[in-house]
Structure formats: structure tokens, C-alpha cells
Subunit: 107 residues, 2 copies
DNA sequence: TTTACATTATATTAATTAGTATTATATTGA
DNA sequence: TCAATATAATACTAATTAATATAATGTAAA
């Protein structure tokens, strides 16, 4: 049975698009974007993020949980504090472009 | 009344995050990603996209409508055909990074 | 070692708002 | 009248989020 090369390409493209979509959906939330933006500048503990972004603690924890589940961040405990850092090069690459497009100061 | 500088920054960050989120949500769909990927390689008419991606015509038209509404693509009519091209530099920049992260051949 | 407190995570629920495929039909141009 | 594309309407299937309460873990002090 012959499968036209175009079908193989299309299937590969669909798989790649689905994976890409996964990342994009995880990024598609204001709080998560702000969190990743902070964490991408260096390791941050939860209370630092709470102060910097003024997000309620349970919301913060919930959204950090999403980022953990999706493998975008990793954690390190130090006493009472838990420090978050970026764990996905793909996410970091996208965050950086988004920063350049939407957050870079004019000029 | 004094507004701490941090609040101004935070507000600006929220506005930027919301705009960014808008783009990300529009990109967070397999069909739309595939469409943008094709169109980013050069102007395409609807029937070309339909053949290349094997997406039903009404679905195609619906998703192209989303991309138009969000300003990600623009159109040009030529007789019976309507040609689509990328109209957002922000979208193009993101698509390019995504391609490098998820679609570039190994090595 | 018990108590208390600080930090963070989880569970639950309520409220809201959505994404998608499908079918049918309309529009526009040749 | 046919080809290309868009729109409308519907039906399906559910996803996101905020809020409240509580649990878990670690530290420090009484």
C-alpha cells in the first residue's frame, strides 16, 4: 500500500502543530505569562512572585502548578521557600520573542 | 496621590500580557497554525490551502475568518480566488520561532 | 515536644465563557 | 450555471477561572 509523500508530511506537520499548540495554550493566560516573564529573568520563589505581580496566593499556586505539569518550569526547595526556574528551551525561546514584540521599550 | 512606580510597571506589564495573550490564543489551534505556516511561506489562495492541508472548506473559511478578524492575515482578490498573506509582524516572529523549535529537521 | 506561624500546595465548587464540526446556504465572479 | 469562498445556524462537548477553605511542610520558639 502506497502512502503519498505529501500525506507523510501532512501527518508530521499535524503532530508538530499539536505539540506547538500545547505550548501556546499553556502560555495563553495573563498570569502565567507574567510569571514566566519574571522567572525567565532568574530563579524566583513564590512569595517574590506574589509581591512582584500582586496575584493571590492560591491563584499563583494553581498557575504555577499548570506550568509545572506542562514542564515549563522546575522547582528547588530551600527551607520554607520553593524556587522556580525555566525548564523548557522552547518556552524560553517563545517568551523572548514575545518580549521583543510586546514589551521592549520604544526605540 | 502617589502611585508607586512598581504599580505603573505592573499595569504596563498587564496590558502587554493581555495583548500578547490575544495573539497566543489566536495561534492556539492546529488548523490555524498549519494555515499560518503555509501562508508564511508565501501568499496562498484558499483552494491551495485546502489541498495542502486537507481541511474541509467551511472549517478552513471559518478559521481564516478568525485570522482575518485578529489582523494576522490580509487578503487580495484575483478573479474567483482570494489570496492570503501574513499581515502581522508579531505573528510572523512567533511563527518563525515555533518553526525552529518544533519543525526544523534534526541536526 | 508542643505550639504557632510562615510558605506553598491542593481540593472543591461556582460561575462564566468557549471551541469545534457539521450542514446548509449565500455571495461573488467567470 | 458552475467554481470558489464566506457566512449562518446548530449541536456538541467542556474548558477556564476565581474564590474559599484546608492541608502539608518547614522553622522557630515556648
Amino acid at each position: 500500500m502506497q502512502i503519498p509523500a505529501n500525506d507523510l508530511n501532512l501527518n508530521a506537520m499535524r503532530v508538530a502543530a499539536d505539540r506547538t499548540c500545547g505550548l501556546l495554550k499553556t502560555l495563553s493566560n495573563r498570569d502565567r505569562l507574567l510569571l514566566l516573564c519574571q522567572i525567565s529573568q532568574g530563579e524566583r520563589c513564590v512569595s517574590e512572585l506574589e509581591t512582584a505581580l500582586d496575584i493571590h496566593q492560591p491563584t499563583l499556586s494553581q498557575q504555577l502548578g499548570v506550568l509545572r505539569d506542562e514542564g515549563l518550569v522546575s522547582t528547588r526547595r530551600e527551607g520554607k521557600w520553593i524556587y522556580y526556574s525555566i525548564a523548557s528551551k522552547e518556552a524560553l525561546a517563545v517568551i523572548e520573542v514575545l518580549y521583543h514584540q510586546y514589551c521592549r521599550p520604544p526605540q
